[in-house]
């Protein structure tokens, strides 16, 4: 029996694949809705990748496993600043973007080969909020309130 924890989520956003891709990866967008963080990577297969917390700590790190611009991005992802999560090792995050008329279908899978993963439990709460916020940003011009701030005490 394989040990695996998985979070799966689909959302539909009135935008283009290119705009959504940029919003998911570029600092000028992620700082607005992703708790003030930004990502650093050369965005090529095999390149390192990390999320930077506003205070300078590394939040999560890994590498680009697969990349088809505006269609599919697969990252390895290990939490860096919470010891119990870091100990679980590398998870795998997949974004798939599919254009359907005026709408983009975004499918997100975040999984790790660990049973009852605390990382996956944590991101299961975070992802719906982040994706709702990027949807609001792209559709209304504003993210959900508070999206630009890293939570206190974390």
């Amino acid at each position: 029996m394989s040990e695996n924890s998985r979070f799966f989520y689909v959302t539909y956003i009135r935008t283009t694949p290119e705009k959504l891709w940029r919003a998911l990866t570029l600092p000028e967008f992620t700082r607005q809705y992703w708790a003030g963080t930004h990502q650093e990577s050369e965005w090529k297969k095999g390149a390192p990748w990390r999320i930077m917390i506003p205070d300078g700590r590394v939040g999560d790190a890994g590498e680009v496993l697969e990349i088809e611009p505006f269609k599919k991005l697969v990252l390895s992802w290990q939490n860096q600043f919470l010891p119990a999560m870091k100990a679980e090792g590398f998870s795998r995050l997949t974004y798939e973007l599919e254009q359907k008329g005026e709408i983009v279908k975004l499918t997100l899978t975040h999984e790790i080969d660990v049973a009852n993963s605390i990382l996956i439990e944590g991101v299961s709460g975070g992802w719906p909020e982040l994706l709702a916020s990027v949807k609001s940003l792209l559709e209304t011009g504003a993210p959900l309130p508070g999206g630009d701030t890293w939570p206190e005490g974390v």
Partner: protein, 157 residues
């Protein structure tokens, strides 16, 4: 997710920049559902034991009965596809939970009670994200979900 409980067949969380009452109204009034629920209107008797049905000009969609209601925050309803696509299974159960989040809403939709190898569950799992994404767009922008626009236009004509 609690380790010792059986996970529901489907659970979906969506955050919406609209107050709890507006999300409740969008889920329970046909004047709103036509804009994002596959173009379907809604008749509903908002009390325990009350019946509901989604419908459009051509047909009745899914139907059911309200099992628990605590307006505007929580409702449990049976869900019966009413022979859609020739499929018949025992009704399943939907729970809406709408929580205030600093003036906005966190909506959790739980759908459970499907039999093993359910023929209906895959369609349900695909349908909810589309409907709820459309509802969020409708509540935040006032625009109907794109796939509904043709239906709304034809209704106005």
């Amino acid at each position: 997710m609690p380790n010792s409980q059986i996970a529901p067949d489907f659970i979906y969380v969506i955050h919406i920049d609209a107050p709890v009452q507006k999300v409740w109204d969008a889920l329970t009034k046909g004047e709103h559902t036509i804009h994002f629920w596959g173009g379907k209107d809604l008749r509903i008797d908002l009390r325990v034991g009350g019946a509901y049905e989604f419908f459009d000009e051509k047909s009745v969609g899914h139907v059911g009965v309200i099992e628990e209601i605590d307006a505007p925050r929580r409702m449990v309803l049976s869900f019966d596809t009413n022979g859609f696509a020739g499929l018949t299974e025992a009704p399943s159960r939907v729970t809406y939970l709408i929580e205030d989040r600093f003036g906005g809403s966190k909506l959790t939709v739980t759908h459970e009670g499907f039999p093993p190898n359910s023929q209906i569950l895959p369609g349900v799992q695909a349908g909810w994200p589309e409907i709820l994404s459309g509802m969020k767009t409708y509540l935040e922008t006032g625009k109907p979900a794109a796939m509904n626009e043709k239906w709304v236009e034809s209704r106005r004509a």
